[in-house]
Symmetry: C2
Subunit: 135 residues, 2 copies
DNA sequence: ATTATTTAGTTGACATGTGAATTGTTTACT
DNA sequence: AGTAAACAATTCACATGTCAACTAAATAAT
């Protein structure tokens, strides 16, 4: 258990080290990647659903991204409760500069494990997660 | 990578669910366990070293534990820079009430994996961690 | 001894997270 | 239509985390 928590902590620390010199945090980076992945603007709740955290936190995250000019928010035209968020040119630029170093770190972490080991690890983690879920 | 982060998140969520009804958070619980484990009071930095986080955060954590009467802080007699933290009777009582449910959760997560798989998982995580460290 | 350097702990500023309560909107029901 | 229930976002209050700067105390260097 402790091993999982420690590894996760060091992982996010390593990703932070790559991303923060560019002025954003990992969570902000994740939001940007989600928005780039979805060609159309997404409502706040949808972003929240694709992240680990709850919606209230997302609002602040989006506030900060908007302040930096990396996203735009527009009140939904169909459903006026929604606020649609889209990535800006500047956001896309930033992401494109981060793609290479992030991919490099990703591969570096995974490369130390063989393909079989990778699969093994993913399987074990899934077992743990499903055990937690079924309690 | 994502699997590790998600599993860690759900793990800490599960432990929170056990511990928070008793009025403390997992981090506060961890501090209390560390203090119970060390028979003598520990300086702030030493507690910080045994936790994942940096010292500044520890100060606040200790503030809140002290406010709840679960720990006591005394200025060090030998080295007057240090602040020694000790767990109170009330802290020990709280821990003793949490021991059983926490152990139960711990075993439940681990039981789904055989002994061999447990060792395998620990090993794989260590490989990942050492890879990260050596970058 | 005196000064410079380290060390322990704290404070301040900011980014995340979470739960509870709120505001507008939309949908369901009668 | 008209009201109740559900939903999307947000605000508030609080607990974590991190970095940079600061205070006080202890050590090292000259």
């Amino acid at each position: 258990m402790v091993g999982i928590l420690k590894t996760a902590d060091e992982l996010s620390r390593a990703f932070s080290a790559v991303v923060e010199p560019h002025g954003i945090t990992i969570q902000q980076f994740n939001v940007l990647r989600i928005l780039r992945g979805a060609s159309d603007p997404l409502p706040t709740m949808e972003i929240g659903a694709r992240m680990i955290e709850k919606t209230p936190g997302i609002t602040g995250l989006l506030d900060r991204l908007q302040r930096k000019g990396l996203i735009v928010r527009v009140r939904g035209q169909g459903d006026r409760r929604q606020v649609l968020c889209g990535i800006t040119e500047r956001g896309l630029d930033l992401l494109s500069r981060l793609d290479a170093p992030v991919a490099e770190l990703d591969e570096a972490c995974v490369q130390a494990l063989g393909t079989a080991q990778r699969r093994e690890l993913v399987g074990l983690l899934e077992t743990v997660r499903s055990t937690i879920a079924s309690r």
